[in-house]
């Protein structure tokens, strides 16, 4: 406990994200148990090469694969109050938050970026399940509002990749209030006539599913993703019976009319491009991995302090 461990080391850690120094070169697929070499797994977008199980992927990795040439610009998210409730369970909330920030190198469970995907300009938002189970607190709400405002300013569609255990209990009622707040963001996009596409990834549950993640114009899910309001364990305890195989999985929801499509992660980009270009009246796109776009002069400057709240 000194200056080096308290200050210098975290600083260095935050400069080099953990991913660059893999602790383990091999990952075991949680579904089929195959040991997968990290580079091969990363090349396959964290999809198991043996059983096609879609593992979690960080927003940065996803954006790198999604945007042409892996180039994107982060959209600034207004910082909320830290720990408004002074929440404490077995640990203090700020300690949990700091640990998650240190482990991920990110501020919170949501990353917002703008860029070109298949030469189609979009604003993308991705939720990070590895950050406190992707839980929705005020930062996540602010991120979605900032993304919607940016999409409206640039007149671009918004694509959201959801992954969350639900609301962040440590922010109590204020996490719950992100349900209406993010719904306002969806309304703003709708009124601006901009497409909002949601990609549901494993797992998306609770208050997240019951707000912005279910309000897309088009709802796509990754294969076998668990998507639900109440989790299977809670339901089994309530109704005291075993749930059928595949219950609340993407394919099950597709069968029950809750989704438009179930799409493999590797096919996702092309599919999003196809859909968004039709919805925005653009000609068909060139598919595949494209180099980064030329630096375009027409990109509107980002407001230095994004407006906290829009005038609807």
């Amino acid at each position: 406990m000194n200056w080096i461990s308290n200050y210098v080391r975290p600083k260095i850690n935050s400069l080099f994200s953990r991913r660059e120094v893999p602790e383990n070169l091999w990952t075991k697929c949680p579904e089929c148990g195959t040991m997968l070499f990290h580079r091969e797994l990363a090349d396959n977008l964290n999809v198991c090469t043996s059983c096609d199980h879609h593992m979690a992927i960080t927003p940065r990795e996803r954006f790198t694969a999604l945007f042409d040439g892996g180039v994107f610009v982060e959209v600034k998210v207004p910082e909320p109050l830290t720990d408004p409730l002074q929440f404490r369970d077995q640990k203090k909330y700020p300690e949990r938050l700091k640990a998650a920030q240190k482990a991920s190198g990110e501020k919170d469970a949501m990353l917002v970026a703008e860029g070109d995907m298949g030469r189609t300009p979009i604003v993308a938002v991705a939720q990070d399940f590895s950050f406190m189970a992707g839980s929705m607190g005020m930062y996540v709400g602010n991120a979605i509002i900032a993304a919607a405002q940016r999409a409206i300013a640039l007149k671009r569609p918004m694509v959201l990749f959801a992954a969350a255990g639900g609301a962040r209990m440590q922010e109590g009622i204020l996490s719950l209030m992100q349900m209406p707040r993010t719904t306002v963001a969806v309304q703003m996009l709708r009124e601006a006539g901009l497409p909002y596409v949601v990609v549901l990834t494993h797992p998306t549950t609770g208050g997240v599913t019951a707000s912005y993640a279910m309000l897309g114009d088009v709802q796509i899910a990754e294969p076998n993703a668990l998507i639900c309001f109440a989790g299977p364990r809670v339901i089994e305890q309530t109704i005291r019976e075993k749930l059928p195989e595949g219950f609340q999985r993407a394919e099950y929801l597709l069968d029950h009319g809750m989704l438009d499509r179930v799409t493999h992660r590797k096919a996702m980009k092309d599919e999003l491009v196809t859909i968004l270009r039709m919805l925005t009246g653009q000609p068909p796109a060139i598919k595949g991995d494209l180099p980064p776009p030329d630096p375009s002069p027409e990109v509107a400057p980002q407001p230095s302090e994004p407006a906290k709240a829009p005038q609807a």
Partner: protein, 319 residues
């Protein structure tokens, strides 16, 4: 009278007083009134002490008290010409949610609420106030109708949460809640929500995304039940007292956080000990809130409602 666990000492004293009086009734020569009155006094002091400073967990228990007035009681007492409207036009009519046209002080309104039921039969029929997707879809339909015919919407929130069942999930519980919240944000008429008991998570938000949100003094509104929170964060469901404390789910804390607009006082000993007084107080508050919002243009109502929620969270407890 149903006593809560923390009211046990009170039950004893009140029980003794009742016993004495019963004996006196049976035996005319006995004069116990003096002693009974003394016990009454003692009980009153104790009640005052117990309710002076309820802990969050005790508030949860009071909010769930079976003798509290429920949605139907308020509708019967405060509205006239209540005409229930049923069904979601897709699948079923959910009895956990009641709603329909009614007049409040002669003004036609749309009233919607969770109903928990008051005995075993009605509780089962009402599914303990836990709505299924059909309940939210019925509410959406009613709110939409209210919007088109320019009727203010009044919602009475009292639910442990949306029902976690197999069919509910298959029929899109999450989507139904999300759409109900969305509908709340869309309607160009005054929307007033009153939490009369339990405001359980998303199931409550779906009705409470309102222009004005009021809570009864001992009601609670939370992202998760204290029991659920305890079992996740403390890995021990018996830590619900600590969880209730940490979650800041009381009306008093929520007002400080800027989440609700007003607190409606309950009689001493909670709504269950003065049902009529409580219902009247809710009626008064509703009247004031409706008056506040009357004459506002549809666009202004929608804009203000949205802004209200966008601004939420800018206020911490410390501030």
């Amino acid at each position: 009278m149903n006593y809560l666990e923390f009211e046990k000492p009170l039950a004893e004293i009140e029980g003794k007083a009742e016993e004495l009086r019963a004996m006196a009734r049976a035996n005319k020569e006995m004069d116990v009134e003096k002693e009974a009155v003394a016990l009454d006094k003692k009980a009153e002091t104790l009640l005052r002490d117990l309710y002076k400073d309820l802990t969050p967990w005790r508030k949860c228990q009071v909010a769930r008290h079976p003798d509290r007035p429920h949605c139907k009681d308020y509708i019967d007492a405060l509205f006239i010409e209540y005409t229930p409207l049923a069904g979601d036009r897709n699948f079923a009519d959910d009895h956990a949610v009641m709603g329909g046209l009614a007049r409040f002080n002669d003004q036609p309104v749309m009233v919607i609420g969770h109903e928990k039921g008051h005995d075993t039969k009605t509780r089962i029929e009402r599914n303990f106030g836990m709505a299924r997707p059909e309940g939210y879809r019925k509410a959406i339909r009613l709110m939409d109708m209210a919007h088109r015919f320019r009727l203010p919407v009044v919602t009475l929130v009292d639910t442990p949460g949306a029902y976690p069942g197999k069919g509910a999930e298959e029929r899109g519980q999450a989507e139904a809640i999300a759409r109900s919240t969305q509908k709340c944000l869309e309607i160009g008429v005054p929307l007033i929500a009153i939490v009369i008991g339990e405001g359980g998570s998303g199931g409550a938000v779906a009705f409470a995304t309102a222009n004005r949100i009021a809570m009864l003094e001992h009601s609670v509104y939370s992202v998760i039940s204290p029991e659920g929170c305890a079992s996740i964060l403390w890995k021990d469901a018996d830590k619900m007292r600590e969880a209730a404390e940490a979650l800041r789910l009381t009306a008093q804390d929520l007002q400080k956080l800027g989440v609700i607009d007003r607190i409606i006082r309950e009689p001493m000993g909670g709504a269950q000990r003065g049902r009529k007084e409580t219902i009247d107080a809710v009626g008064k508050a509703l009247e004031t809130m409706l008056k506040d919002l009357s004459g506002k243009k549809p666009e202004a109502l929608i804009r203000d409602r949205r802004q209200k929620f966008l601004d939420m969270g800018s206020k911490g407890l410390a501030a």
